[in-house]
């Protein structure tokens, strides 16, 4: 449920680091909490966003949420398929449901992210609370 090779944030984004680029999506836990995701608001390619700021909007049947930038940088690729098939975020959060690719401004920021094991504990705590 939480692939080992990925990094995670407290707000339930996953990050896959390849060189200076980071692919970002939402975790299985996040999509489960949101329920059926019905719409996304995606950023434009070329936008620069700082860590902690809103990256994209997510609308589900019962709530509306935001994806938060896990690391600062420029958006170099956007998964436009999500606009017409938002269900990919539910059905395949770590694969077809990826959201953006970021060219990182400061790759040291990845050290602040959680490992899969740490994230698992985090989720357990949140689910228990």
């Amino acid at each position: 449920m939480y692939p080992k090779e990925l990094k995670y944030t407290e707000q339930h984004e996953w990050v896959k680091v390849e060189g200076n680029q980071a692919t970002v999506g939402i975790t299985h836990f996040a999509q489960d909490q949101l329920g059926a995701i019905v719409g996304v608001g995606l950023p434009d390619e070329g936008t620069t966003i700082s860590k902690g700021e809103a990256l994209a909007d997510l609308d589900s049947m019962k709530t509306a949420d935001q994806i938060i930038m896990p690391v600062s940088g420029e958006i170099v690729k956007v998964n436009m398929t999500l606009e017409t098939q938002p269900e990919l975020l539910n059905d395949d959060p770590y694969g077809e449901g990826w959201v953006v690719v970021i060219e990182m401004a400061d790759s040291d920021e990845i050290n602040e992210l959680m490992s899969a094991d740490e994230y698992k504990d985090h989720v357990a705590k949140e689910a228990g609370a």
Partner: protein, 486 residues
């Protein structure tokens, strides 16, 4: 059977309209307008005969449920009977066919009505001055918050006071209105009796608070006994109190928001004062304020100068206007007619009966439905489906099953602080027989949830359509009809 759209009934060359024969020397459009101004592609409006038009919309009306069709216990919406006389008086040509920019001398009756309605609304709420301009409850909220902001700005505290406190049980419009007014929203928890938790309130109240928004009785239908203390806490920090008047039907003539310490409120004239909801609008969100907020009211304000009623625009501290003209006048006429038919005693009796009816239904359902707060309620109450959930039946299933039994459903999944909530507001205009029939239906559903949960899970069975696929509707939105190719 699928009901066709009006467009699907269209046939080229048919028409319902008739226009007078032109009696002036006509000129071609191209002579009167430059070419770039003229439309190239005509709008595809349907072409139907008048009889087809009337039958189409009459058929649609048969597929719609209103208060005139049956019991409508939609919590927080006060679906009381809409008296027919109100429709008739509002349709008088002297009210309906007058232009908002007519000289004031020619609309004295309209201005007198607005002035008197404003005074009545102040008396009912214990306030000083009113504005009838806001078009709906949410619009009234926004206007009220703008007044609060203008007040703080006038004291030089506009920058400092950035927060609005909203209880976790509040209507969703409260935080949305506060945000639209540029405020940061701070949520305060409810206590075990369903009221505002005073300890939490004290923690969040400070010099940066602009206002607290509250409805009392609250969305659980419970009267907050600490109203005065809450007002003191907020006032002593320099904040103001906003009253969400959605629940005024519980307290007319019994207790007034002004006397509880509130500084501004909005009314939902379409709830409390019987004007019809029109399938979602138009309503009216008239507001009333204490004297300290009066200078900031939107312009114009109706004023009485001797025997003459005028529109006062000369209010230098006014926030401006929040809408075109003077408000939803036609709705105001109906609300005024209602207040004048009931009088003081009638309003009080309406509130008392609304509360009696709610308590009667609540106590009859208690035991078979879970009641989170076992207290006397006001005009509405909240139960939940936690007993039924054990059999796999949720609130939505119960709501849909009620439709099959000829009732409108309660408000569901609100307030958010109660899981599987059902908010029931019977209103005062329902007879004991109607209430008993509804209670019977609810008890039958409770029974079915044990004996035959699948019937409920598939409800409704008797409506013109069954449960609709809302997920696909949101993922692949079809928001208009598209003409077939060619």
């Amino acid at each position: 059977m699928t009901m066709p759209l009006i467009f699907e009934k269209s046939k080229q060359g048919r028409k319902a309209y008739s226009l007078p024969k032109s009696d002036i020397p006509g000129k071609e459009t191209t002579e009167l307008l430059p070419d770039w101004a003229i439309r190239k592609k005509p709008a595809f409006l349907p072409e139907v005969s008048e009889v087809d038009l009337i039958r189409h919309y009459t058929e649609l009306s048969h597929r719609n449920f209103g208060v005139d069709q049956g019991f409508y216990p939609l919590g927080s919406c006060t679906m009381k009977y809409n008296p027919k006389i109100n429709e008739d008086v509002a349709a008088l040509p002297g009210f309906n066919n007058i232009h908002p920019y007519q000289p004031e001398e020619l609309v004295q009756g309209a201005l007198e009505l607005m002035y008197k309605l404003g005074r009545d609304l102040c008396e009912i709420s214990g306030m000083y001055e009113a504005s009838l301009q806001p078009a709906a409850g949410a619009h009234g909220e926004l206007t009220g918050l703008m007044l609060i902001k203008a007040y703080h700005e006038s004291l030089g505290e506009g920058e400092k006071r950035t927060k609005v406190i909203v209880p976790d049980s509040a209507h969703g419009t409260n935080p949305a209105s506060a945000a639209l007014c540029g405020y940061e929203v701070v949520e305060v928890k409810s206590d075990e009796r369903g009221g505002v938790d005073l300890t939490s309130l004290r923690e969040v109240v400070s010099e940066d608070v602009a206002a607290l928004m509250l409805t009392n009785p609250n969305t659980l239908g419970l009267f907050d006994e600490n109203a005065v203390e809450i007002a003191d806490i907020v006032h002593s920090a320099g904040g103001l109190l906003y009253y969400d008047g959605a629940n005024m039907n519980a307290i007319m003539g019994i207790v007034r928001p002004g006397d509880m310490g509130f500084d501004v409120l909005h009314y939902n004239l379409h709830k409390t004062f019987s004007t019809p909801h029109g399938g979602g609008g138009p309503g009216s969100g008239a507001i009333a304020v204490k004297e300290i907020l009066a200078p900031f009211l939107p312009v114009p304000v109706v004023k009485k100068d001797g025997e003459l009623y005028t529109l006062d625009y000369d209010r230098p501290d006014s926030i401006g206007r929040v809408k075109g003209f003077y408000g939803n006048f036609n709705v105001l006429v109906k609300a005024f007619a209602y207040i004048r038919s009931l009088g003081a005693k009638g309003l009080r009796e309406a509130a008392e009966t609304a509360v009696l009816n709610a308590n009667y239904v609540m106590r009859k359902l208690q035991g078979r439905y879970h009641l989170s707060y076992d207290r006397d309620c006001k005009h509405e109450f909240v139960i939940d489906a936690s007993y039924q959930l054990k059999h796999g039946v949720n609130t939505n299933d119960i709501a849909k099953a009620l439709l099959d039994l000829g009732f409108h459903a309660p408000t569901v999944y609100f307030p958010l602080i109660i899981r599987e909530a059902m908010m029931i507001e019977p209103t005062e205009t329902e007879s004991k027989e109607t209430l008993d029939a509804f209670i019977g239906a609810m008890l039958k559903i409770a029974e079915l949830s044990e004996s035959s949960p699948e019937t409920l899970q598939e409800a409704p069975h008797n409506t013109v359509v069954g449960r609709l696929d809302d997920v696909t509707a949101a993922r692949r939105p079809i928001l208009r009809w598209t003409p077939p190719e060619g």
